[in-house]
Amino acid sequence: MKGLYLTIALSPLLGAIIAGFFGKTQIIGRKGSHIVTIAGVALSCVLSLYVLYGFMMGNIESQSMDLYTWLLSGQYEFKIGFLVDPLTAVMMSVVTFVSLMVHVYTIGYMHDDPGYQRFFSYIALFTFSMLMLVMSNNFLQLFFGWEAVGLVSYLLIGFWFTRETAVFANMKAFLINRVGDFGFLLGIAAILYYCGSLDYGVVFSKIVDVYNAQTTIEIIPGMEWYVVNTIGILLFIGAMGKSAQIPLHVWLPDSMEGPTPISALIHAATMVTAGIFMVSRMSPIYELAPAALGFILIVGALTAFLMGLIGIVQTDIKRVVAYSTLSQLGYMTVALGVSAYNVAIFHLMTHAFFKALLFLAAGSVIIAMHHEQDMRKMGGLKKYMPITYITSLVGSLALIGIPPFSGFFSKDSIIDAVHHSSSSFAGVAYILVVAGVFITAFYSFRMFFLVFHGEERMDEHTKSHLHETPKVVTLPLILLAIPSAVIGILVIEPMLFGDYFTGPYLKALLVDATSPIHALGELIHEHGVMGMIVTSFSHPPVWLAISGVVAAWYLYLKNPALTGKLREKFSAAHFVLEKKFWFDELYIDGFAKGGRKIGAILWKVGDIKLIDGLMVNGSAKAVGWFSLIVRHIQTGYLFHYAFSMIIGLVLLITLFVIL
């Protein structure tokens, strides 16, 4: 198995190396670059699916294996290794499958770009990093993957590095992620300190002792916190950065400056879900940390609700999808907060498919519109782009949770979990996520109607060139539309209520009598998935989704004039949403500018005057001066040399014998 897992992880890396270092050579070239990377990722994908199948059939065992010891430091051992269990298998399959689709799609999207080879190298490198992240069996390697995906994300957001906005966006993503990573690193450090190891197995067994001992930590004087809660919150701060939760979400909408394929791969389907995966992986820790879970629940619910609201006023097609991603990540986080980790992973999976689909479809529209992204200049694309239209429709229906599309099952399970949760914040969270359903449906179909229906608002030149995009673009759309439509109905039973998630660290993912979704489980066991669909029509979410669609239809197709009136009437609310709750202003004008001011003072006084002037140059001058003087002691005269030896001898005798 070791060889199999190594192949899965390393074959994308090999492709990345070949395309990255030799892509510009005659032998590899543009075509060779996409062939090697796609071959690498495809191999990885096929093997991942084989592993997933093996786990579903029960003929592969969960396994944690160490590959080699990277570093020994005192009592600490740092190893590189793989932990492959059902959770990992799901992630591996999702990552490699979406990545493969994006690779194929890129051939069409980046067709004329001079950085073609570089792009393929980066996305293959991303696949490798993400696999290292999900397959890790210890926190060190997890952190490596975590940082590596962050790095590739940075490189890809700024892929068009001559655009100032792209450079600003990648810098922003990098800096905001640093804030999260700082918490994450502190969390890992705390784990190393209290558990003495970074290996998952050891940590998960030691953490129970830490919990039982009721160990506390005093960060702010006078406030004693339970260590397990502190670790949980610190790790989650890392997840907030990576998975763009309020208030560390501001980088994700800006990351849309990158090429669309990576928005689909990195900023929708895979990397941003790393935080969700991480918390699920750490479920043995979080189950001991109720306060941390409460925190997660609140953050997730706020993200789900508020980010959806912003999505309503966006006009850039990609930004709408980006805010939708933020909101959906909020839903996953909510599921984590009520201990329904398996539901979070389920939604992660369905979301990966339909959100990648929506992004790639948006990209397809952008190609057809000659890189125009403003929805106000689109409309009526339905007849020009039938495949994109149908696949987008599937994606949107999945997103808003209309049965029997995949998103319905995952989102409804989340809402059900919140409904039945015993968490003290569950009441508020429930209202927010249910309201979120309406908002989701509204902004999704607002976008859908604006782009594909209604009057054609583009200019004549664009209009004359409108046609469906090439096969390399539409094929991934179709291939992603299939799971977006049916994956929910197929896997909800085994994944959520069956015994798929069995493994030494996955106890919290199995549904038992204490699980908030056990009632739903009983329903499905008795009546099957049809039971769930039928029952859902007696609950508000589905009706809210439908009414969201209807509202969007009425406001943007039937009676567009009303939209303007409403905007005037609620101009204050609109302004708040336009300004995105002033998060950017707070960070840029508050933290960034304030930080620069303090920095400038420290630089001018501390650095230039004290450190450079006095200490660095001063001491360097002193050393140079001393050196020149001492050099003259070396006269070259033999008797001076002998004399110095005698002085040395006398000195030693005086100091150590006589005294």
């Binding site: 050196s627 001492v630 002998a642 040395g648 001898l649 030693l652 100091l655």
Partner: protein
């Protein structure tokens, strides 16, 4: 019938040296290559014999004069192999200058014999005998280019100062003998652990012995010969003096201070501290002002000696093995650096000034890269092995509570980093003054490449060598 087996390497080396000496007389000028080959074969076979007769515990033979233990095996193997590499580096240089005479190799072999005797000595007498054999051979080697005034001057200085140092060492030994009544190191150690009050005269003996050792190592203030000899001697000889004998000097410290007088550790520890502080300070600071690279390396040696002694100051097994690791690493690094100087020198041109390294990257990027590794290692930058060497000795003294000493050593090595980095800067960022092609024979090229890569590889995987050093000291 005494047991001759443990002494076999030395006996073999002596016989072969005599044979080469005689053969050299009868070989014509154009067949000097045979002498070189014989020398190399002798060194390799000696190393093999050392390995073959190795013993896992202390084996004292020859009426207590001679000991064969894991430490002697390790050090002797390294002495033989490093010397072989030194001779590979030297050969072309000597040929270019018509100095490729048999005497160089014969003197070299005698020096190596002296080192091996020192390493395996078990009485003060055999320590002294080995030391003198080594020193006398080296005096002659320094004067090897006898028509060169600088070379002869350096040899005379070295000889006179060496004689003073030897006499001090001998005087110290006689004082110790006077108190303990024995020359045998084990018996001395035994005598010193007696519970009664030890006479002050012992401390005086220790001072003289420390002075003798400090001179051989080149620690401040007994270092004055080092820069002059390094600069004056032909570069091939400097390479020899600067590298292999440091291993023997480490053995000298171990045999006299540790095997013989570890009971007096509280006496010699503070003395060594004084030497260490003075050495790292003077060595690093004065090196900055040098323009001659051989002289700069001489001061760099002085500072490295300071570091090497740090581990000994810890006065425990961990410290000794750290020092041993440092010594071996230091020897490997020095060989590489001088090896490059020999490569850059050619007929009628001596690469001696720091400026001669300017723009090396343009002339030969591979050598520049190897030199970069060597310089980083000398400065103690990870991931090169020089970092682990410094780390190990610093850890040893810190564990013994001498934090201030570690801080002083680190501070001065930061100052020292300047002149190593300056060389890197010159190699990569300055335009070459001399743009001629660097011509190298294959064997030298391979050995130098391996030399540089070993420094890097040991830095990435230092474990094996560290464990070997620990085992040979008797821990781990």
């Amino acid at each position: 019938m005494p047991n001759f087996i443990p002494v076999l390497p030395e006996i073999f080396l002596l016989s072969m040296t005599c044979l080469i000496l005689v053969a050299d007389l009868y070989l014509g000028k154009d067949r000097k290559g045979i002498v070189y080959l014989l020398t190399q074969v002798t060194l390799v076979v000696t190393a093999i014999i050392v390995w073959a007769v190795k013993s896992t515990e202390k084996e004292v033979v020859m009426w207590g004069q001679f000991v064969n233990d894991p430490m002697s095996t390790l050090l002797n193997v390294f002495i033989c192999l490093c010397a072989a590499i030194v001779f590979i580096y030297s050969k072309d240089y000597l040929e270019d200058r018509e100095m490729n005479k048999g005497e160089y190799y014969v003197l070299g072999l005698f020096a190596i014999l002296g080192m091996m005797v020192m390493v395996s000595a078990h009485t003060m007498l055999s320590v002294y005998m080995g030391l003198e054999l080594l020193s006398l051979s080296m005096y002659a080697m320094v004067a090897f280019n006898r028509d060169n005034a600088a070379s002869s001057e350096a040899a005379v200085k070295y000889f006179v100062l060496g004689a003073i140092a030897s006499s001090m060492l001998l005087y110290g030994m006689s004082l110790i003998y006077g108190v303990t009544g024995s020359l045998n190191l084990a018996e001395i150690a035994q005598a010193l652990t007696q519970p009664q009050e030890l006479p002050t005269i012992l401390s005086l003996g220790v001072v003289f012995i420390v002075v003798g050792i400090a001179f051989k190592l080149g620690a401040v203030p007994f270092h004055m010969w080092v820069p002059d000899v390094y600069q004056g001697a032909p570069t091939a000889v400097t390479l020899f003096i600067g590298s292999v004998p440091k291993i023997a000097a480490f053995a000298l410290v171990m045999r006299l201070l540790v095997d013989g007088m570890s009971a007096l550790a509280t006496d010699w520890q503070p003395m060594l501290m004084l030497l260490v502080v003075a050495s790292v300070a003077i060595g690093n600071v004065v090196a900055i002002a040098q323009t001659n690279i051989k002289r700069m390396l001489a001061y760099s040696t002085i500072s490295h000696i300071g570091f090497l002694l740090l581990g000994v100051i810890a006065a425990n097994e961990a410290g000794y093995s750290a020092s041993m690791f440092y010594t071996i690493v230091y020897t490997l690094m020095t060989m590489g650096v001088f090896g490059l100087l020999l490569i850059l020198s050619r007929k009628g041109f001596e690469a001696e000034n720091i400026n001669d390294l300017k723009g090396l990257n343009d002339r030969n990027p591979w050598y520049a890269l190897l030199m970069l590794i060597l310089m980083f290692s000398m400065a103690g930058v990870p991931p090169t092995v020089g970092f682990y060497a410094k780390f190990a000795v610093l850890q040893a003294v810190i564990n013994e509570g001498f934090v201030w000493l570690a801080i002083v050593a680190v501070l001065f090595s930061v100052i020292g980093a300047f002149y190593y980095l300056r060389i890197i800067k010159m190699m990569y960022f300055d335009a070459p003054e001399d743009t001629s092609e660097i011509s190298v024979k294959l064997d030298t090229h391979v050995v130098f490449s391996l030399n540089g890569l070993v420094i890097l590889m040991l830095g990435l995987f230092p474990e094996k060598l560290i464990i070997w050093c620990q085992n040979s000291i008797g821990i781990g």
